[in-house]
């Protein structure tokens, strides 16, 4: 215990270990926070995607913080419902049945570029006759633009940009530009200020109502992490990738190194044919193409992350490090305290687990920590090959999606850079701590 304490004190003397430790703690924090913020099932449902989850997001737009670095401010996507403060709604009954509902959406627009699209989602309830609704657009300089008049069904979606009549009324400009364009400017650029969208709806019988409305603007930036080609918020994958990567890395590394050590210890202790057998298996394992077998399992059988984890551990148990463990155990086996244990009649298992293995744990720990980045990147590697877990959002799957959609070629750098930076942080933090541990725990390297 005392030795462990002094080892950790020594470890704190390495600035790289300290930095790595802090990074690991942050990652652990995110890893614990992710399943609390978005429960497992919800994360899977969100990542499977679909219009009902992500219709408020534009496709392939960079994150909000892009605005900090660009000269021209990009419009920020928003989604307003009637519960929001900037939305007013008045319902007045009409004389001969039905109601007159006026909903106004007011929002501030301070960007230098035009948004992608404006969409209104309406839900209504009626018996026979469709409610009738007219949209008016009020610009900051007070102009009123008639957008459209339409009878709406129970669930209606109105996309401004697809309305060709509106485009003609706006002088040929698409609605996303025409509605925002500054009339006094030579070039086509947006007018900054407060815009209002007024929806004036009439229902024709008692009991008919506009149930709800929703106003969505697809801007050119969205969320803290941007969106992908399925309109998904990349934040989900960034957040959930953390626990997945940490779990895969630590479980695989822990499983592999501990089982390897136990097998080496048992082989050395019992010796003869068992030791021979273990060495032969190690040699056979060397012939097996590791990544190819993992890919085969992924393609033929299952891409589940747990299957992959199991196969990874299985294939890594009999790796080359069994030989170095064996060399150390052979030395330890001859030491007097083992002989003493044998003299007082300790059982074989007791000697292996109580005397042999604890002796080399200081050598095991650096190897274990250093193994984590390799497995974290292995998970990402499999995902980049298209063999990521079929349901879970992970960093590797983000990179794979980005790669498949030629993100670098099309300039969606954020799509690849964000998960790559997180992968790098994870790999670096464990590697830095592991390297320092190696120097503290490994007497051969002390002072080198």
């Amino acid at each position: 215990m005392q030795a462990l304490k002094s080892a950790f004190r020594q470890l704190a003397g390495y600035p790289s270990a300290l930095l790595g430790g802090i990074l690991i703690l942050i990652l652990l924090g995110v890893g614990i926070y992710a399943p609390i913020a978005i429960p497992y099932n919800e994360a899977i449902a969100l990542w499977r995607g679909g219009e009902e989850h992500w219709r408020q997001n534009p496709r392939n737009v960079p994150p909000l913080w892009y605005n900090w670095f660009t000269k021209e401010a990009l419009p920020i996507s928003f989604q307003y419902t009637e519960a929001d403060e900037n939305v007013t709604r008045t319902d007045t009954p009409r004389e001969n049945g039905g109601t007159n509902t006026i909903i106004t959406y007011t929002f501030d627009f301070q960007a230098d570029k035009f948004p992608q699209e404006l969409i209104v989602y309406l839900k209504s309830d009626y018996a026979t006759k469709k409610p009738f609704i007219s949209f008016t657009w009020i610009t900051p300089d007070g102009r009123e633009v008639r957008v459209t008049d339409l009878g709406i069904t129970q669930s209606e979606t109105y996309r401004f940009g697809q309305d060709t009549k509106l485009q003609r009324r706006l002088g040929g400009l698409p609605a996303n530009q025409g509605l925002f364009a500054d009339p006094n400017s030579e070039e086509v650029k947006p007018l900054k200020g407060t815009y209002t969208l007024v929806m004036d709806a009439l229902t024709f019988e008692d009991g008919d109502t506009i149930v709800s409305s929703e106003f969505v603007m697809h801007g050119l930036v969205s969320g803290w992490f941007g969106t992908d080609h399925f309109r998904r918020d990349l934040g989900v994958a960034m957040l959930w990738g953390t626990p997945v990567a940490l779990a895969f890395g630590t479980l695989a590394s822990f499983g592999t190194s501990v089982v390897t050590m136990i097998i080496a210890a048992i082989g050395v202790w019992f010796g003869s044919w068992l030791d021979e057998l273990i060495q032969r298996i190690t040699e056979v394992n060397l012939v097996l193409p590791f990544l190819n077998i993992l890919i085969m399992v992924g393609v033929f059988y299952s891409r589940s992350i747990w299957t992959m984890l199991g196969v990874t551990i299985l294939l890594s148990i009999f790796n080359a490090s069994i030989k170095s463990y064996r060399a150390i155990f052979l030395q330890v086996k001859e030491s007097p305290y083992i002989e003493a244990a044998r003299a007082y009649g300790a059982s074989n298992m007791r000697i292996v687990f109580q005397y042999l293995i604890p002796r080399i744990i200081p050598l095991l720990i650096p190897g274990l920590v250093l193994g984590i980045p390799a497995f974290v990147f292995l998970e990402a590697t499999l995902a980049v090959l298209g063999l990521g877990d079929p349901v879970l959002p992970t960093w590797g799957k983000m990179i794979n999606d980005a790669n498949n959609n030629a993100a670098l070629y099309n300039g969606f750098y954020y799509w690849i850079l964000q998960p790559a930076v997180l992968l790098m942080f994870t790999g670096l933090s464990f590697a830095m701590v592991g390297f320092a541990m190696d120097r503290v725990f490994n007497p051969r390297l002390r002072g080198v």
Partner: protein
């Protein structure tokens, strides 16, 4: 070495008693080599057979293949105007006969247990056979040709970058171990954790910087389309495409490699005989080559041997990220197409190379290190 003694004319004339140690050592080496060869062969057989079993997933892949055959034939027949004129019974009969024919072509009508042994014996004799679904760019279905076609690009990429990496890192490590504690030494130690990331990871960054932002180097591939006709331009074009993937491979293991060699050399340069040599006043170059490099030669050779056979496997992900037409991508594509002959072909060649290297290494140790005695 022992063989040489026997062929010398002087050895014939020598008295019997003096010859016997040489004969003894020949017998010893032969016995050792024989046992070792048998063991290695068994290892290869087991390893390859396991791969064959895995490549079939316990008959699961057969089912997939059967389903694909039926699907493919029914689609083909539906477009056939003659087929439509047949009665349903005739149609069915014809369809089944076509399916049977295709299954016979792929030997799917035989039980897998027999087929796996056939795969194994053919593979062991290096008869790689014909691919099931894949074909080479020249249109051949011979596994040998499919592999040979992709071998050159892989050897170019992996060979260039790994040789550079190997000799570069040993050279740098030697000079760092001479200047232990210098600023460069510290920088290398500090940078070594960056090697936890695989080559494709650096590849993504390199593509981003040099291809996407600066547009100075290509995104991937091995040649421009259309490729230059002039031989010199052709070579230059390949070089241009080689820069990014090979830098990615080099950068991803450069620092850890230097770090490991440097630590290794440092441990060896603190041995007493090195101190002694320095005390004698030998030139530092002599100390390095004769007192540090010589005893570490077995380790260097082992690493080099493993590196050479490692070239064979290609780099699946790096080749995928850079669209490099190498063996790694072929392996990946073969797995995706359930093409067992190609997978087995790649594995057997790797296994043989590995076994051969392991076998040769033992003899090399004896050559470079007089303390090692073969089979002793």
């Amino acid at each position: 070495m022992s063989v040489e003694i026997q062929t010398q004319p002087g050895a014939e004339a020598a008295p019997r008693r003096r010859l016997s140690p040489a004969l003894q050592s020949i017998v010893r080496v032969a016995k050792y080599s024989g046992v070792k060869l048998v063991m290695l062969f068994i290892t290869v057989v087991i390893g390859v057979y396991l791969t064959i079993l895995i490549a079939n997933m316990g008959g699961y892949v057969d089912q997939i293949l059967r389903g694909e055959i039926r699907e493919g034939i029914s689609q083909r027949l539906r477009r056939d105007p003659l087929y439509r004129t047949l009665t349903p019974a005739e149609q069915n009969k014809y369809f089944e006969s076509e399916v049977l024919r295709e299954e016979e072509r792929l030997h799917l009508n035989e039980p897998f247990a027999i087929r796996s042994v056939v795969y194994l014996t053919n593979a062991l004799q290096m008869e790689l056979g014909r691919a099931q679904n894949m074909s080479s760019d020249s249109g051949s279905r011979q596994v040998r040709l499919i592999i040979l076609e992709r071998l050159a690009p892989t050897l170019l990429l992996m060979g260039f970058s790994n040789m550079f990496l190997f000799f570069g890192s040993i050279f740098i490590a030697l000079s760092l171990s001479r200047h232990y504690g210098s600023i460069w030494d510290k920088v290398t130690v500090a940078l070594s954790p960056t090697s936890s990331a695989p080559p494709w990871f650096y590849g993504v960054f390199f593509i981003l910087i040099f291809a996407a932002i600066f547009r100075v180097l290509p995104f991937g591939g091995m040649l421009d389309a259309p490729p230059p006709t002039n031989k010199l331009d052709y070579a230059l074009n390949v070089m241009k495409h080689l820069i990014l993937p090979s830098s990615a491979i080099i950068i991803s293991s450069l620092f850890i490699s230097i770090y490991n060699w440097r630590t290794f050399f440092l441990i060896y340069s603190s041995e007493d005989y090195v101190e002694m040599a320095k005390a004698k006043g030998l030139a530092s170059r002599d100390v390095e080559t004769r007192y540090i490099l010589r005893p570490t030669l077995p380790t260097i050779i082992t690493n080099f041997g493993l590196l050479v056979i490692g070239l064979w496997t290609g780099a699946i992900v790096t080749e995928t990220v850079f669209s490099w037409p190498g063996l790694g991508r072929t392996a990946f594509r073969a797995i995706g197409l359930f093409d067992t002959p190609v997978i087995v072909g790649l594995t057997i060649i790797y296994a043989y190379l590995l076994a051969f290297t392991v076998f040769i290494l033992d003899f090399l140790y004896a050559v470079v290190d007089p303390r090692v005695k073969i089979g002793g």
